[in-house]
Symmetry: none
Subunit: 203 residues, 4 copies
Amino acid sequence: MTETKPNLSEQLTSIKQKHIIDAAIRVFSEKGFHRAKIKDVAKEAGIADGTVYNYFASKKELLLAVLNELNETEARPAQFENLNSTDLETLFLKQMQHRFNFMFAKKEVLQAVLPEIISDSEIRELYFDAIISPTLKMGEQAFSEVLTEPSVSSEALTRALAGSLFGLLLLNLLGDDETEKHVAEILGFLAKSFASNLERKIA
Amino acid sequence: MTETKPNLSEQLTSIKQKHIIDAAIRVFSEKGFHRAKIKDVAKEAGIADGTVYNYFASKKELLLAVLNELNETEARPAQFENLNSTDLETLFLKQMQHRFNFMFAKKEVLQAVLPEIISDSEIRELYFDAIISPTLKMGEQAFSEVLTEPSVSSEALTRALAGSLFGLLLLNLLGDDETEKHVAEILGFLAKSFASNLERKIA
Amino acid sequence: MTETKPNLSEQLTSIKQKHIIDAAIRVFSEKGFHRAKIKDVAKEAGIADGTVYNYFASKKELLLAVLNELNETEARPAQFENLNSTDLETLFLKQMQHRFNFMFAKKEVLQAVLPEIISDSEIRELYFDAIISPTLKMGEQAFSEVLTEPSVSSEALTRALAGSLFGLLLLNLLGDDETEKHVAEILGFLAKSFASNLERKIA
Amino acid sequence: MTETKPNLSEQLTSIKQKHIIDAAIRVFSEKGFHRAKIKDVAKEAGIADGTVYNYFASKKELLLAVLNELNETEARPAQFENLNSTDLETLFLKQMQHRFNFMFAKKEVLQAVLPEIISDSEIRELYFDAIISPTLKMGEQAFSEVLTEPSVSSEALTRALAGSLFGLLLLNLLGDDETEKHVAEILGFLAKSFASNLERKIA
DNA sequence: AATGAATGAGGTTTCATTCAT
DNA sequence: GATGAATGAAACCTCATTCAT
């Protein structure tokens, strides 16, 4: 029963961890995980090298903590507010905008972490199971509930939508500034297109 | 008629370089660039460590050569056979299938190289200028020639299409096997959707 | 009065650098710069290989630090005590003894560093500009002030004297023990000979 | 008895060895023994890397062959032509000029080899026993025969003279161009000085 | 808890030497 | 005899991690 306050020192620890993680995100995303040195992270965080190890067991643990940053909020399902009454195009648009904005806000983290997700199978599986897979499942579920006699499987539709968003982010990460400039237009076009051949269930 | 044979030793060098590049692709894509050691590449190629350096000045040069491997074939524009007479949906579909198949065939290399492209700004710029940018430009040009009073800018349309494809590949690289399973369906849906709100110029 | 103490940690660093430099001098002079490995220096200094690099950026930097060791004290001009009242022979003798003793005390360092000075043009120029040239200039100046209607140019005289001393040291470095045994006699003879045909200005 | 012609192929071998040695001298003296690569020597000689090893067992053997270059002619005692009738100053001058010219002609070889002589004890002993020691002995002998009641031991005198010459060369190797410019004057001064306090035996 | 100097395993790269052609 | 590609031992250097202060 004595759980009361989550321990002052624990809170402090948590705050300092967050501080280091933020520094790590900046450094990792700028230099890449392997080129970034613990010394760089420590300097960015304004602490000593050794101090990092008081909060993270290893450099890889720190990376996993950064990865977890995505988890934290990504998991939070979009507030499907009052989407019941909107048409499909608007629903798609809202959803895609929401997702894209979220990813875009996390662009730095993704840049820091994506290379490792792609190249390290251990991390890849972790990320896939923790984030990608559930997100896709959620999407499939949502679509199957919302669509009437769809001409595409919800698996395919989910991947078309998710893929489009991932792709836009990737284009941006790869250096294409135009993508960023035309986001609104692109998302609008995508939403309209995807909605063209589908019909919403009447609630 | 005798196109001066490009020097026997040059040919040999080229073949051996290719041999090492192929080994590097396998090793890089399995372990990732940084976890892959020159020793690994050499072993995979069946040669001594030092021999690698007879063909590539440094590990990074080897990576660039791998990167170049993408260039080699990527540049080849799709044979726009008799696409003149087809409708827009079919045209999109053919194009996307072509591109996707190409990227998918290079999946291993991309997995090896993408992390570095994302995290190393030097390589990123190189790759963007050499491949991404020209490809996007080509797309923009093609669309502007083909469409009648499009409701989207060719920049946006290009990125919607390219992004979708990149995104599918990325989903697959991240471990989603479903993407691979449903490719045909997804591409079909994408083509149909994108074509829905556009009209082709009458030739 | 309290001359700000030069920072404790700076002092420590300086002491440790000196410790490594001393070890390097011993190892370089015994094995020669190239045959001496960083591992050897570290072992001689009783530290780990990597620690050397906490104090010197590279092996060559360490060599330059060793070189600088000569600079440190070489610069100190001989105390021309009361040389005003002495005859030329005595003045030459005192000077030569002073110089020779100094060089002889630095014999180990010179043996460590001389080969590189001779064979590395970068280091050669550094050493020449920092030490040889100023020393010769000083000599020329001193002689021109001290001699009456000399039959030799001060440039030539300086080089005769400096050369003699360098030569003796070199003979010794090359393994001639007799040189060391007869130093006193040789220097005496040199001083007397050089003074024979010159006359001192009357102060 | 069948020694006849020294075998044509032996002659060829000897010529080619000399060719490689000359290339080595140029390369070693410019870059220093350790910085010089066998590839550099081969290129300078206009042959393949491997060919060097048909004529010298190892890089060090090549260095010893270069060292031997000094031996070849150095050993040849100066033709003490008709020095009987000259005064001591002239005799010294002639001798020193002869020696100095010889050393100066071999400057490149010395620059190539001296660093190793100083830093490699094996080579040092070889060189000392083969060249320095006999030369000094010869000098001692000559002086003891020529001087009447000398005020210096022949050991000391020999070293004073030899040292002066070595020293001038060293000054020059270290980069002092003035030495070269004033050689005549310096040697003249040295000869006159050394002769000042000595007297020649009357033949 | 924070520090940062010390550590040393391990990686990239060099290059003398070998040897099949 | 000449060649030069292949070799692989060994060196320099980096940097994640430890630990005494």
